[in-house]
Symmetry: D2
């Protein structure tokens, strides 16, 4: 990106983060519902800490840190920078309050504006990759703000809403089909042609694929309910051993946020408790549930290379139109005359819902690509040190910023994680 593009993107992304918190009270921004999820206030501060630490403090324009103690408080996991306040106790940091954290954001923004205006071209060239990383980093935290907040609000028996509930949509089922691919020796990973990519998307490399097919859409709540009604959670032969044990020790009998009511299933969403729409994509599944469901379906999860190949082959133009329900929506069907009626419609052999609906669990463990090397220094801790005991997810959810939709993007979470918008696309 050039100077102007950096500046504009920086401003837009920073504004979007603050916008997400705008409708929240200080109380909502402070609490932490589990060690894996962080308070909104922490996300607001940590993303600013990132720019202050890796750009402003390192940069050519003098910058006074807002508060030296923040280096400790808002460092997430960068050991090379120093010790960190314990992750599980982030909800106990009542001060700085929300107001003070917003002042911290403004302080960093002022510094960044100065830097982006005043620093020389040569300096900027060396800082640009870090700034761009910071922007993408902040966008990742925008998604976490929504998923972490959803988890927090779900703990409250009053089922409070993040946003007003839109009127319910009327949906229709879309037949499940499979699209076939020939496989062979393919290339996956970022080709390094100028667009932003995280280091874990590189290097581009060859992979041999046997012929495979993937489903034309995400699996639905209705299909998952069939699995449940067929004893899905009580049949060990469908499960990975660790998943089966977790089911029992944690009492899983439905996706996260689902509650059975006398008249059927409801689930908690960012716009309140809603009746489950059988045609909408199932989400908030662990890898173990997605895998057991796939096995029950006589299918399997795609590998990440299969997913990437199919995404590249089919284009990925169906990005989400913002969902006012803040939840994945059912596909709209092909209109009778065969014309498609806008984004999200089903057509022929197209792969639908590849981006912007729900993250798709893959059968691939999150490991470094052949020849992977993290960058030098503290930023090398960004991705590489998490390459064990996690699975790759592909695509992107309704909470994912649009710029993150690309075939090579590798999201990753532990197999038992359920609080992200995580769904399943079948493969064979």
């Amino acid at each position: 990106m050039d100077r102007l593009e950096l500046l504009q993107t920086y401003r837009a992304v920073r504004a979007q983060t603050t916008f997400l918190a705008d409708r929240l009270a200080p109380e909502d921004c402070t609490a932490q519902s589990m060690p894996d999820a962080s308070p909104v206030k922490w996300h607001l501060a940590h993303t600013s800490w990132f720019f202050e630490t890796f750009v402003l403090t390192e940069g050519p324009i003098e910058h006074r840190p807002f508060d030296p103690a923040y280096a400790y408080l808002f460092n997430s996991y960068y050991n090379a920078i120093g010790e960190q306040y314990p992750r599980a106790r982030r909800g106990l940091i009542t001060r700085p309050g929300l107001d003070e954290v917003l002042r911290f954001r403004a302080h960093v923004d002022t510094g960044m504006e100065r830097l982006l205006h005043e620093c020389e071209d040569q300096s900027l060239a060396s800082l640009a990759p870090v700034i761009e990383l910071g922007i993408n980093h902040e966008e990742q935290h925008q998604e976490l703000i929504l998923t972490d907040l959803k988890h927090l609000l779900a703990q409250n028996p009053l089922a409070p809403r993040y946003a007003d509930a839109p009127p319910p949509e009327i949906s229709q089922p879309t037949p499940l089909g499979f699209v076939s691919f020939a496989g062979g020796l393919v290339e996956v990973g970022d080709a390094n042609e100028g667009g932003f990519a995280f280091d874990n998307e590189r290097p581009r490399h060859k992979v041999w694929l046997e012929p495979f097919s993937v489903a034309n859409r995400l699996s639905t709540c209705g299909e998952y309910l069939e699995f449940m009604q067929d004893g899905g959670y009580e049949r060990p032969e469908l499960w990975l051993s660790e998943g089966w044990n977790l089911c029992h020790s944690r009492g899983w009998t439905a996706p996260l946020y689902w509650k059975r009511r006398d008249d059927g299933w409801r689930h908690f969403t960012l716009t309140g408790m809603r009746r489950v729409d059988l045609n909408e994509p199932i989400c908030h599944l662990s890898l173990f549930e997605a895998d057991a469901f796939a096995r029950w379906s006589g299918a399997r999860l795609p590998t990440e290379a299969e997913w990437e190949c199919s995404a590249v082959a089919q284009g990925h133009g169906e990005h989400f139109a913002p969902s006012p329900a803040l939840h994945p929506r059912a596909l709209r069907r092909i209109s009778p005359g065969g014309q498609t009626a806008g984004p999200g419609e089903v057509a022929g052999d197209t792969l639908h819902q590849m981006f912007g609906d729900a993250w798709e669990w893959t059968a691939s463990a999150y490991l470094g690509y052949p020849g992977y090397r993290p960058v030098e220094g503290a930023l090398g801790e960004y991705n590489g040190k998490f390459m064990a005991n996690q699975f790759v997810l592909r695509g992107g959810s309704i909470a994912t910023p649009r710029r993150h939709f690309r075939p090579t993007y590798r999201n990753f979470f532990p197999a038992d994680a359920r609080w992200q918008f995580t769904g399943v696309r079948l493969g064979r």
Copy 2:
């Protein structure tokens, strides 16, 4: 109390509770630092829930509950009323926010005002004991607001203050002495002569005491430091077995809130980090530490009957002058001419610091007095069901409302609790 006295006391106590929260931001009022401690906001709501549940809903004046869901959210432990939101997760209730909880308080206050003005004398007579209990209950929570908040703020590496720090006082040591009592067949417990008392202070009953003596003042930080420097925390022969194990498993090497600095010990107080004053009463000890310290001193903890007898014999007129440091202060010494110079001074055989400085651990397990019966109904759960595996504390701390200072008052906490203002007076 008559109608007017009830009304005035109710108003004063309710106002004082809100006053305690006045200087706090919503963030401070929301977080919970451990299962044993509750958020300030929860205390504000629960004390109101108490009046709404036990007085307004039961009373003769029609009252619409502020929100039916609060019956579940803000019930502490009254099983007879219904299920309770899990204690350990109170910090996750971000809504209702602080504002809404203050509206709940106002709603309850309006109801109480109406009831206290309008209900007939006969009704009032039957409700008065419950109202009085509710007032005393709220005062107990005033103390918890301070101790729970102190624990929360102490988790923050920024060591934030609840109140501004007063200038440090200059203190002087006061010699330790013992006052002797003859013992014999004595009576302890509330005599039921009209003043308020909790059910656990009754019935008044006979106890045989051997001759005993108790220290003329609380043990000091200086004395406790000697214990520490003499290897107090490393000498198993000084400790109860369970205490010794806790020392190791929890890593106790000093009282709660103490931090060693290069130039000596500091401790966290509600007015910030302060240098430890060697002459001030030691506090934030567990029963185990108090007991080990007493053994090291060649003494023991008094029993609750001994404490009560000595308090009755000596009067208990030395109530605290409010401590601006929000921490127990050193005794002021007798002035040269022998005149005492106000509250807190040392004179002859007087027992000092019996009330209003720090709670005093006793050697007595918290059990029902002979013939003890809890009241019928849900309020019977107030005290009686906790009579196992706790120890009695006597006196009262700087955080205790003044009306709670009486010789028969029985406070109780588990032996490992350290976040109350808990100290030690030696006995023999």
Copy 3:
């Protein structure tokens, strides 16, 4: 005891310990079912370690320790002697094996025989109290051998037997009655008149008692079953708060070792799974269950002073005839002609089953008597350091050696302990 009596008692007690293990295989003697219970092999070794450490090593006759490493391995909790192998891992000590431990016992016995024969009178006089303590200590472990082994065998789904099952007895109900006592200023505790007593039974001291009464027999399985069928385990108003929480977190719905079968309740005993006899004493209750049952019965648990007074007043001559079932038996009724037919019969106002059936939970916390001082040195750790968060039990069970039956004996266990033979006698 004089030299000869010491010698004879030592021999008899040591032989009895080995006898208890005689019918067990090495496997049974090695395993540990929970941290609170120890392997039989460990009991065999630890009781020998006691004599080697406190008598032989200290004594006038030269003694070579069997293996210096045992000082660490078989020290239970005497910090003054040195560090201890972790209690929870005693089941991992497969070597020394059972044979080797029996050789250790023989080695210690040889040393003790020599000492008891050869040492001079003066030396013996100073050692005799320690030897006598060691003998009583070993008898306490005889009881633990049976209770710990029972707990271990109960974990095995094959329900293996320690001893052959005797033919079932036919029992009859005995009416529950209460015996009244006047109370007043009484003396309790060991009078120091020559018989052995533990330090925690002293000093004898005055206690004031209000008039009270205690039940003429232990409560029965039939009575407890009524409590269960009346929702005893589902009614929070009957329970101490901590007990209620334990009920839920541990899933208690019946006494330990009870299993519901289609045709009624069975329980695991040392002679195998047996049908519950409704007339036999209920046992394997926690203090919490005993307390809830008493409350449900409209009664309460006696205090330890009440128990002791009533035991003294009534004599305690009904010691158990050894129970071949290794389980408390139902009372035998008065024969038609009015003659009693031997031990265990019911007569008039007599208190039955005071000793030798099941330990009786009292309402008293285990604390030191007024003026209590542990002995100097390591043996001071025997009793005193456990005086917190335990309750006193009185009487003695079918597993208790006969010499331990005395009115002043204070047994103690945490309120949640259920693996001892612990029952309930009602008081008022």
Copy 4:
């Protein structure tokens, strides 16, 4: 295998299992040191349960199960067969004792002899794959007998020996070198040409490999000690995030079984405590330690495909000569004249210690090969359900039965496992 070969292999493997337990006392065979490790007695019984359940009960020759309860007691994890006794409590099963378990083995052996002699060819043909699986299964448990026992004995402060200690060998260092491979499109996995393989080794499939090299030998204790002395355990930049956290929470500062003494490092082996030989292969590392060490070495762990290709290319003829120390030995060096002097010597570009020394952690997560399908029925639970959150190990250790050494063999353990003989070969 034909009938005779099956019979002979069955007999030999069964005899070897019993032989491993021969020198152990019943106590050693009963205890369980952690949930992951099982008692020797359990291994003896479970391997027999396997034949009784999957062969004898299913087979054409009538067979009476030794004890119906064993179906529950000795089922490891086959949900399709029924419920299982809890894994973590296997050490509490003192009965059946060792003798009885040996009788169970004999009972199963008698049944298998009859079946292998008497059943018709057609029946045998269908049973042979299961019998062969049972034989390989039992060999896997032979390795576990040694590793689980080692972990148990290591808990004993007496450091008891499984076997007599051989005299220490004198070793010399061997230079570390790397052997290069061209990569390209290769095939890995079992080719299904008749030899036994587990289902997880299939199907054979294509993989694209970039050029790579692997070390000519395992890394040594001396090299690992350099890592330790260079702050290996204190430098977060060397570690995967989860490994770094484990290091701290579990207090890892050296490989499992290492103890620092004043004169250097010792480690516990099956032949007792021994001085660490700097030239012998490092083992008892977790994946996290192996990975951190590799990173510190400027290298990485090989993938399982790289390992398999290099093993195939180099042959695998250097199987272990039985190590009397029951521990991996140092390589013997090339003799001056260039002649090799027997197994284990170093020559040119050869890959040494590929089999029979220590398992080698790879960088590959344990997942199903493309097209992998577990067999139908209960035996499908053998491997497939563990394909999440584990890493692949290749090669084989001194405890591995010889018939298991093959390039396609896939061992797998969680990344934190350290009680197997697990070491590291560097790759690039």
